[in-house]
């Protein structure tokens, strides 16, 4: 038998590229929800991912988002008479495909209202483009932390929670578990993070928090995709920490929980971040996930009026987006609904200033920058308990979102904490410093938000 050396080298080369191209599948044709040309419409380009390794998250999030827009169209006839329309473009969570979708959809008429890619990589790649186009980019619960500073990033909105706020809230929560923040001193925390820019983003903030509260910190990387973590959890076993913060993504999460069990680490001392908090993260781990705790910005379940309205109005009319109805009320689905609420309310607020007609992206951006939903307004929207509140301003594109913590009981999540605030005062100087550095590198003159507030 001839041994094909070149073949071995080729195989090795394919392996070393990380197999990324092999996640490709046939792209979904864009599905447009169109309205008669005479009716004003507000258009949303959706860079969704319904196939590939992260399809479970994509189908839930975009399903919830679309269902909420369908509810607004069905129940209210749109936003003050303006119908919501959308196209989907399949990204498979691949940055290149996400950018390709952006290029293809950005020239749509009427123009895009806002971009919602739900992908750190795609969002990063789009920032220069959307800034030039003057269309807002929504990165709910994720994205660049320093884009919180709207003076430098006028078109980027990491709504509800940025990665630094998330880290701070997790440490605050651990503080409540050990009897107060002052009891954190001397404790040991390991952060197990995904080996990607997303995973590494919070390395400096955990170092800062460790310095402030006096706990011992070890941060351990899990290479993507994270299907094997023996070595990392053996290190954790040797460190014997009080808590492990799981900053995972995809398959890394259930594998972490299973390997923790294998190495004898208790699940109720593992605190997952916002991308380790779904049913798809806990359920595959079986018994190993029972007791596991995770942060979230939106509660799960179908008991909220807005979710029930979707079920009664959208699904009973056969217009629902979710093929599997049992996923309505899941973490990703409810995040999609909350994202829909924030997008729709931003348009409603912008309409109050610019009129009840099709708005430009820049006008919608103004709406996001004045998005103020207090608990009373959230209740009026049927979302009381689903999420807390948001108050976006020119200088704060995150909007001071609060978080809560949930615990997995083997079949579902149960809330175990009140709404918790991150330590924004501690984080703000770091965010501003990073944003100003970005501004200097990119020749951006930051806006004067005191003047913007008057507009």
């Amino acid at each position: 038998m001839r041994f094909p050396h070149r073949l071995a080298a080729a195989a090795l080369a394919v392996g070393l590229t990380g197999f990324a191209p092999l996640t490709a599948h046939a792209q979904n044709a864009p599905a447009t929800a169109t309205t008669p040309a005479t009716q004003p419409e507000q258009y949303f380009p959706l860079q969704s991912y319904r196939v590939g390794p992260y399809a479970a998250g994509g189908t839930g999030f975009f399903g919830g988002f679309i269902d909420y827009m369908t509810l607004i169209n069905s129940r209210d006839g749109g936003v003050n008479g303006v119908k919501l329309t959308w196209d989907e473009c399949e990204t498979q969570y691949v940055v290149e495909k996400g950018v390709e979708c952006y290029e293809r959809m950005k020239t749509h008429q009427p123009p895009p209202s806002a971009w919602n890619p739900l992908s750190v990589g795609i969002a990063y790649a789009m920032i220069p483009g959307v800034t030039a186009d003057k269309v807002p980019l929504i990165t709910i619960d994720h994205g660049r932390t320093d884009s919180t500073d709207g003076a430098v990033f006028p078109y980027v909105f990491p709504l509800l929670m940025n990665p630094y706020s998330e880290s701070s809230a997790i440490v605050n929560f651990i503080g409540t578990r050990v009897g107060g923040d002052d009891k954190l001193a001397g404790k040991s925390i390991v952060v197990l993070y995904h080996g990607s820019p997303y995973g590494r983003e919070t390395i400096p903030i955990y170092q800062l928090l460790a310095k402030k509260y006096g706990f011992t910190l070890q941060q351990i990387e899990v290479p993507d995709p994270g299907a094997e973590q023996e070595a990392q959890w053996l290190q954790i076993r040797r460190i014997h920490p009080d808590y492990v913060v799981l900053r995972g993504w995809g398959v890394m999460n259930p594998v972490a929980l299973k390997t923790a069990q294998k190495t004898g680490f208790p699940a109720d001392h593992i605190i997952g971040n916002v991308w380790s908090n779904s049913e798809e993260d806990a359920s595959p781990a079986g018994h190993a996930a029972v007791g596991y705790i995770a942060l979230t910005t939106q509660a799960t379940g179908t008991q909220y009026p807005v979710i029930q309205q979707i079920e009664n109005t959208v699904y009973k009319a056969g217009k629902g987006d979710m093929a599997d109805h049992s996923r309505i009320g899941s973490v990703y689905y409810n995040l999609g609904v909350v994202n829909g609420i924030l997008n729709v309310e931003a348009i409603r607020i912008a309409q109050a200033k610019f009129g009840n007609h099709t708005l430009t992206g820049d006008q919608v951006r103004w709406g996001f920058e004045h998005l103020d939903l207090d608990p009373g307004r959230v209740a009026a929207l049927g979302a009381s308990g689903l999420f807390h509140s948001i108050n976006v301003t020119c200088s704060d594109h995150e909007g001071h979102g609060l978080v809560t913590f949930q615990q997995w009981d083997g079949t579902k999540w149960n809330r175990i904490s009140d709404w918790i605030a991150p330590d924004w005062d501690l984080l703000r100087p770091i965010i501003e410093a990073s944003a100003n550095k970005y501004a200097a590198q990119n020749n951006i003159t930051p806006r004067d938000c005191s003047k913007e507030a008057a507009n």
């Binding site: 038998m1 001839r2 041994f3 094909p4 050396h5 070149r6 073949l7 071995a8 080298a9 080729a10 195989a11 090795l12 394919v14 392996g15 070393l16 197999f19 092999l22 490709a24 599948h25 046939a26 319904r50 196939v51 590939g52 390794p53 399809a55 479970a56 189908t59 080996g195 941060q219 990387e221 899990v222 290479p223 993507d224 995709p225 299907a227 094997e228 023996e230 070595a231 990392q232 053996l234 290190q235 076993r237 040797r238 995809g250 398959v251 259930p254 594998v255 299973k258 069990q261 294998k262 190495t263 004898g264 798809e280 359920s283 595959p284 781990a285 079986g286 190993a288 093929a323 599997d324």
Partner: protein, 295 residues
């Protein structure tokens, strides 16, 4: 030096290596008999696990779901041979490699088309809790996996060495023209081999699926098998096992003892460094057949 901890790390690394070997064996089977590096093996692992778990969730009994999935994998193997490989007989290895690369897309897409994109839990009924052995923790589940791998290797060794079919496999692998001249039916042999590779994919899929959940990323386990193949040799089942053990042991030890000094996360690429070194020094791997060509 904590030798008890070191022993625990070493054992865990070896058991991880067995998991890599399980996937690598599927590659070896195909390569050994047809000279094709089947890059679709990972997709076959995904397809098998997803089919099994979806049937089981629909209420089909465990062993019936296993049997149906096995039949599906055999049919898949026969179809691959008839529709993809047979038309490509006598084509260069790189052509066949690219064909299997394309095949992996098709199988992944088909798996998600038929069974959806949800993540599934797979419980094989084996507790994955540690067995305390002095200070060393050994996973019961990993021991079970090692046992399964041992049984598969023994069965394949018997098949290749002591059965007419196995000897025909080896003949086809040695020289396809000579095999044809002696009356061996290559398409039939290859169909059987692909069916056996499908069975191995099913076993690997169930064991990996029980560890990670059954989800798309199962198809990416091939990434861990490539350095195993380069190290052990593409045409040696024993090499797949030894290569897997070496890779698993090395990457685990490296991550635990070297990783903290270089920022961690090295277990992903350290396996490829070892494989590259082997490729330079011993291109056929530890157990691969050295090529002898008459010129």
């Amino acid at each position: 030096m904590d030798w008890g901890f070191f022993a625990g790390v070493a054992i865990a690394g070896l058991l991880v290596g067995v998991m890599y070997s399980l996937v690598a064996i599927g590659f070896v089977l195909i390569y050994k008999t047809s000279g094709v590096l089947n890059f679709a093996q990972g997709a076959m692992v995904l397809f098998a696990a997803l089919t099994f778990v979806s049937l089981h969730e629909e209420g089909v009994a465990f062993w019936l779901a296993f049997a149906i999935t096995l039949v599906a994998m055999i049919v898949l193997g026969i179809l691959i041979e008839a529709l993809v490989l047979r038309p490509l007989i006598n084509q260069p290895p790189i052509t066949l490699f690219m064909a299997t690369l394309g095949l992996s897309y098709v199988i992944e897409g088909a798996a998600q088309l038929f069974w959806g994109t949800q993540v599934h839990q797979l419980d094989l009924g084996i507790e994955d809790v540690p067995l305390p052995l002095n200070t060393v923790l050994i996973s019961q589940f990993d021991l079970f996996c090692a046992g399964v791998a041992g049984v598969i290797v023994a069965a394949l060794t018997i098949l290749f060495r002591y059965t007419r079919t196995g000897i025909a496999f080896r003949a086809a692998a040695e020289d396809q023209y000579a095999a044809l001249n002696t009356g061996l039916r290559l398409p039939r042999i290859w169909a059987i081999v692909w069916a056996v590779a499908g069975f191995v994919a099913l076993i690997a899929g169930l064991l990996w699926g029980a560890r990670t959940g059954v989800q798309f990323s199962l198809s990416l386990v091939v990434l861990k098998s490539l350095p195993v193949l380069v190290l052990g040799g593409f045409d040696s089942i024993a090499g797949a096992i030894v290569g897997g053990l070496i890779i698993g042991l090395t990457e685990t030890l490296a991550e635990v003892y070297v990783g903290p000094y270089v920022g961690g996360g090295i277990d992903q690429w350290i396996a490829y460094v070892i494989a590259l070194i082997f490729l330079l020094v011993r291109p056929t791997g530890l157990f691969g057949q050295r090529s002898v060509e008459r010129v």
